[in-house]
Symmetry: C2
């Protein structure tokens, strides 16, 4: 199989990416209650229902070579998530963009992980908890230097994946996964299950054995040159969308539909996608090597390299102007 | 039908309950990172995964007439929840009891709502997120004056309940509801759905139409003198357990088993149970009056009154010594 080029994974060296090493925001910058602070001092009220009841939605966008990637898509998805959860972002898209951009400049890195959320806020005093209009929603954000959620070996050699046996993904009829949210316990415990069994990562099915998503990432498989990814039960990831765009550009047929877990075992290739990782090859599923040999598949590698090549050229990017002081 | 005695619901008047009105902990007391603070200044790190990923478990115990109710049962349940979520309480049961007792004394109220949680803590630096042992778990707690989650009218006249049409409860195969947790979005949106339709409260079913639980409470129904409550898909509430104890004392047959939602429509009586509300009668379900007339049923009223009579006499209570200064 193919080898992912080393030059594409060398983003973790801060010497190449940090603009300002003497920043007071050494571990990251944060925005809370209208104020910019360093991440080490960013705190939220214990009484915020975003904490006590996971009553919030969030989004994450990445910055690479100083370009915010598909910012409009992230802002649009976030607005939809707020709407689905009956939350109101106190800031407009323009104001949100300004806050996030300021945080990136403060963090002083051209490779950044940019997180923001709107929470329900405190339980309304003297009013019922039942009225969604009685709450004052809150906005929080932070920026840290970009970190891949897969390590260098996993991103070059491929991930050894486990299909979770103990957990199914929270179904859309309970909590809509297309509205990015804090409900992660199924994902976390499935990760620990993978760790217990010496795997790198896990993927969760629904109650009927159809693939949904992996912790923090979407899943794709390739069979006989055709790309498959689940159409439901998962986040509509921006990297997932980008992968479908790239497949289209490459003339690869893509099918977005229900995908049974057995199709994964039988796949020629597979990979995960994530804002915090790009396109990450899968080496094996439940110890079965995909395509009969170790390492990333050909199509996976082609998609991976095209993804980073285009991103680094500023494709769908919003440049951050680091020359102006914040 | 029966009328719940007014004397049993007059707990909300702080003049009867506050020991110390001049306390600096006017809105409540909190414990965070080993320090006692007033609740208004209690904050948690934005980076705590208890916030970002609802990666935590919690419990709530109440104080009435200065007695902590069934504290050992709550501590035991919390320890089990930690174990199920692979969290470790940094404090022993004895230390946890001491912290909670100190907080109650600081809050200066003999009628208290006592909340505590253990969170996953921050993402471990330089280690994989996949290893549960790489995290340093954190303990948080707060105490506020007791507030009923049902208002006086609901608790005397009965709750007008809606069976959620839009949401099912998160299934145990995703997140175990017997481990009390922050995954509340399904419950919250079902509450808002009830509000939209002019109901007081909602109850959620599982995917097969069996009753699970209502936001913050368990559900019981009575048919031909027999008590029914779901055996799965819900928190094993301490007030639920207490209700089963009281039924046993009164010679009422109780069946803990799968309960179809149609049994609720056909019930003679029904009620919700909660630490933050005791036994709360249901007046109607989807606009159908239970038992054919308005108001709490006979057995519900008997259980309700026995519950508070016994609690106020210190049954299963741990007295808080307010004479020693904290």
């Amino acid at each position: 199989m193919s080898i992912i080029q080393a030059e594409h994974i060398m983003l973790n060296d801060p010497a190449h990416t940090r603009v300002n090493f003497e920043s007071q925001y050494d571990h990251g910058s944060a925005f809370i209650s209208g104020t910019y602070v360093d991440l080490d001092h960013a705190a939220i009220p214990m009484s915020d229902l975003g904490f006590m009841q996971a009553d919030a939605c969030y989004d994450v966008v990445s910055v690479s070579k100083g370009f915010l990637f598909r910012l409009d898509d992230h802002l649009e998805r976030f607005e939809t998530a707020c709407s689905k959860f009956r939350l109101t972002n106190p800031y407009s898209k323009e104001e949100t963009t300004e806050i996030l951009t300021n945080l990136i400049k403060m963090a002083g890195t051209k490779e950044a992980y940019v997180w923001w959320a709107v929470t329900r806020g405190d339980m309304p005093e003297g009013k019922g908890r039942i009225d969604p209009n009685a709450y004052v929603n809150r906005f929080y954000a932070f920026v840290v230097p970009y970190l891949f959620i897969a390590n260098d070996q996993q991103r070059t050699q491929g991930i050894d994946l486990m299909v979770s046996k103990e957990f199914i993904r929270i179904p859309p009829e309970s909590v809509d996964p297309t509205a990015k949210n804090f409900h992660w316990m199924d994902l976390k415990l499935a990760l620990f299950e993978a760790s217990d069994n010496k795997y790198d990562w896990s993927v969760l099915c629904d109650a009927d054995g159809y693939l949904t998503e992996a912790p923090g990432s979407n899943i794709f498989l390739i069979k006989d040159g055709v790309l498959f990814t689940p159409d439901s039960g998962c986040l509509e990831g921006i990297t997932r969308k980008t992968t479908l765009d790239l497949a289209d550009e490459l003339g690869i047929t893509a099918r977005v539909e229900k995908v049974n877990v057995n199709q994964l075992f039988d796949a020629d290739e597979a990979f995960l996608t994530s804002t915090a990782g790009g396109i990450m090859p899968i080496n094996s599923v439940d110890q079965k090597l995909l395509g009969g040999e170790a390492g990333p598949g050909e199509i996976t590698t082609t998609l991976h390299n095209l993804y980073w090549t285009k991103r680094w050229a500023g494709w769908k990017g919003t440049p951050v102007d680091f020359t102006t002081q914040e």
